[in-house]
């Protein structure tokens, strides 16, 4: 039992280590594959260079000597047929003696001593032309042994030997190939090393991207690729991927925010509504009080309103609504909105001061009216009794400022997010969507909104686009 268990756990251990090293193995194998390709390429390149070099240097000399040898060979082949032996010997005897680069020798078969030429005899076993044989010869002049290469031609009753000394050339050829081999070996070593280094660098960059991709796959949208300093294609790719991930994360946040908003803003009132109805049903009376039903109706109206705002916000945020291009008289909008809100401000003993110059923008008057009204409504609702509200409209901006309690700085940015209803306003239904709608409408019109501390109070600044010309 114990034995089995341990064996089993061992198996698990192996399995796990295999899995975890799989990625590494893959990485290594790609490094080596790339290295191999790189090395092979450089080797082939160097070999090609060497071959070309050989062809035009040593090869050239070899070819010249060979040509010379075969020319002489062909000449003698012809002459031995056309001339009589005596003529041949007479004509070539001195030449045979004098020739430096070629060793020409004639030996008659029947008279082995009758030898004309450089060598004392024509050695036995020399191949017939054009097959070439190599044989040693003693050079009495230098007291040295030379290796000659040559062949024999049958002529008259003997053989003509044509041979040349290729020792020097052979040495050159040998030296050349030795050097070449060295060069190739160096290429191989350097190629492998640098190839491995480059591949590792490359694979590392790729696998960094892979790792992040896997993290994202596993649901971690905050993962980002570290970007190097060189700004090369890899860094650019990393930058683009990071930016893409950022957008993805934002979208996810939006979706999450929307679902949270639906959950919060609809579920809570829906469950309240359900409770109320359930309570009414459980009361065993035949008639239901109209008051109780009116409450239910009111609750339902709030749900409908919230639902409407959500739909609208989604439409606005995704650009499904058109701002239109009507010229809108902002001054008139401001005065209409102020007129609408004024009785409410009066109830709170607040004063609203308007300082507006004529400004025209392009857009949708109803949507823009809503923005102004919502902001005024917020100011009136949250600045407290006896506060004063200042509305200022210039070509550059629309400012709504109050001297009330204001909001904390960290809440200013939150205020424009969906459902981030501020603590102070948590009990006001629908407000959670008010400012996000305002922001979305302004974005649609190419305007920006900012909250500032009015010391004391809150200052909301809307930056207007460049005026389209006032009338």
């Amino acid at each position: 039992m114990l034995w089995l268990k341990s064996r089993r756990s061992e198996g698990w251990g192996i399995g796990l280590s295999l899995n975890s090293s799989l990625g590494l193995m893959f990485r290594k194998s790609s490094i080596w594959r790339l290295t191999l390709i790189y090395t092979a390429l450089s080797t082939v390149l160097v070999s090609l260079v060497l071959l070309v070099l050989y062809y035009f240097s040593v090869g050239q000399v070899v070819r010249a000597q060979d040509r010379n040898f075969y020319e002489v060979l062909a000449q003698h082949q012809l002459l031995t047929k056309q001339l009589s032996q005596t003529e041949y010997q007479l004509q070539f005897g001195p030449e045979f003696q004098l020739s430096e680069s070629l060793s020409l020798t004639f030996q008659a078969d029947d008279a082995p001593v009758d030898v004309v030429g450089r060598l004392s005899s024509v050695p036995v076993g020399i191949a017939m032309c054009p097959e070439i044989s190599r044989f040693p010869v003693y050079q009495a002049r230098y007291d040295d042994i030379e290796i000659l290469s040559g062949c024999t031609l049958p002529a008259y009753n003997g053989r003509v030997l044509i041979a040349q000394n290729r020792q020097q050339l052979d040495r050159w050829i040998k030296l050349f190939w030795q050097t070449s081999l060295g060069a190739l070996l160096i290429t191989l070593v350097i190629g492998t090393l640098s190839g491995w280094w480059f591949s590792r660098k490359l694979i590392r960059k790729v696998s960094a991207v892979n790792q992040i991709a896997r993290k994202v796959e596993d649901g971690d949208l905050t993962a980002r690729i570290s970007i190097g300093k060189s700004g090369d294609e890899f860094d650019q790719m990393a930058m683009h991927i990071n930016r893409m991930l950022g957008q993805l994360e934002d979208n996810f946040e939006t979706v999450r925010g929307t679902t949270d908003a639906i959950a919060h803003d609809l579920r809570t009132p829906l469950s309240r509504l359900r409770l109320r109805l359930e309570h009414l049903v459980s009361q065993e009376t035949e008639t239901v009080k109209a008051d109780a039903l009116a409450d239910v109706l009111e609750e339902l109206d709030r749900i409908i309103l919230t639902f409407k705002s959500m739909l609208e916000l989604t439409k606005l945020e995704h650009g499904l609504m058109n701002a239109g291009d009507h010229p809108v008289d902002l001054q008139a909008l401001v005065s209409d909105a102020v007129e609408l809100i004024e009785p409410l401000a009066d109830e709170n003993r607040q004063t609203i001061t308007v300082n507006a110059s004529p400004v025209y923008v392009q857009g949708d008057p109803s949507l823009l009216f809503r923005v102004i009204y919502n902001l005024l409504d917020n100011a009136v609702k949250y600045s407290g009794e006896n506060a004063s509200v200042l509305v200022e409209l210039t070509e550059k901006a629309l400012i709504i400022a109050d001297n009330g309690v204001g909001i904390a700085e960290e809440e200013m940015t939150k205020a424009f997010q969906r459902l981030s209803r501020l603590d102070s306003s948590r009990t006001t239904p629908g407000y959670g969507l008010g400012l996000p709608v305002v922001k979305a409408i302004l974005k649609l019109h190419g305007m920006k909104i900012k909250m500032l501390d009015n010391e004391p109070g809150l200052k909301v600044v809307i930056r207007l686009p460049r005026p389209t010309g006032s009338k």
Binding site: M321, P343, R370, G430
Partner: protein, 227 residues
């Protein structure tokens, strides 16, 4: 007064029929666009309540066909599409009013009543430059309000509000209708702001001893009545 309801949802249709019948209208119904158009052309209605999205023939097509045939019957469009664009589209096709689903039945009844009146022969006073009711006179040219021979100071929006209420005296008008008539923006202020405006006007009238009263109709809006 004869009303045609063109609506494909049976529950909505039945409720509308019942409510309008209770209000004293003669009601005819159609469940799709084709039937609706046929009935609208065949019979003489004072008002049509037309759903925007209908099977067989779209609501807007029905409306366009009616209008191109020279029918001037008032049409109230019901729609689940509530963007400003859609509203404009509906009104451009010849709709007289546009109500977004889900709506309050009372709101629909108020709008039906006002549209229905429009199709009646023009009542005296509608085109006049001044409206008079009991001891209250509203001068449209001079923009003045006189109550019991005393000129009362009135702000432009208050003037518009009172004018709308006077023009629709004895009728129920909803808060949205008041807002749209006085402010002319497509927007639901979502607060009691209209109530505050009406309360102000009401106070002004009472203080001046007007023999005219703005009464609150629960869950809907207001009605201006003479005492």
């Amino acid at each position: 007064m004869k009303v045609l309801i063109v609506e494909d949802d049976k529950t909505t249709r039945d409720f509308l029929q019942q409510a309008l019948t209770e209000q004293g209208y003669t009601v005819e119904t159609a469940a799709d666009g084709q039937d609706g158009l046929f009935k609208a052309l065949e019979l003489n209605f004072d008002l049509i309540v037309l759903d925007r999205m209908l099977p067989k023939l779209d609501g807007l097509t029905v409306l366009a066909t009616l209008r191109s045939g020279g029918h001037r019957v008032p049409v109230l469009i019901l729609s689940a599409l509530d963007s400003v664009d859609e509203r404009v589209k509906g009104l451009k096709q010849g709709g007289d009013d546009y109500l977004v689903k889900p709506f309050a039945l009372a709101e629909l009844l108020a709008r039906v009543e006002i549209l229905g009146r429009r199709s009646q022969p023009i009542v005296a006073g509608a085109q006049e430059t001044r409206i008079q009711l009991k001891n209250l006179t509203l001068d449209m040219l001079a923009h003045t309000l006189t109550i019991a021979d005393q000129e009362i100071e009135i702000q432009p929006k208050e003037f518009k509000l009172l004018r709308y209420l006077l023009e629709h005296q004895e009728q129920v008008v909803s808060r949205t209708m008041l807002f749209e008539a006085v402010w002319d923006y497509q927007f639901d202020p979502q607060t009691n702001v209209i109530d505050v405006h009406v309360a102000r006007l009401r106070k002004k009238l009472t203080e001046a001893n007007a023999l005219v009263e703005i009464t609150t109709v629960r869950g809907v809006g207001y009605r201006l009545v003479s005492q």
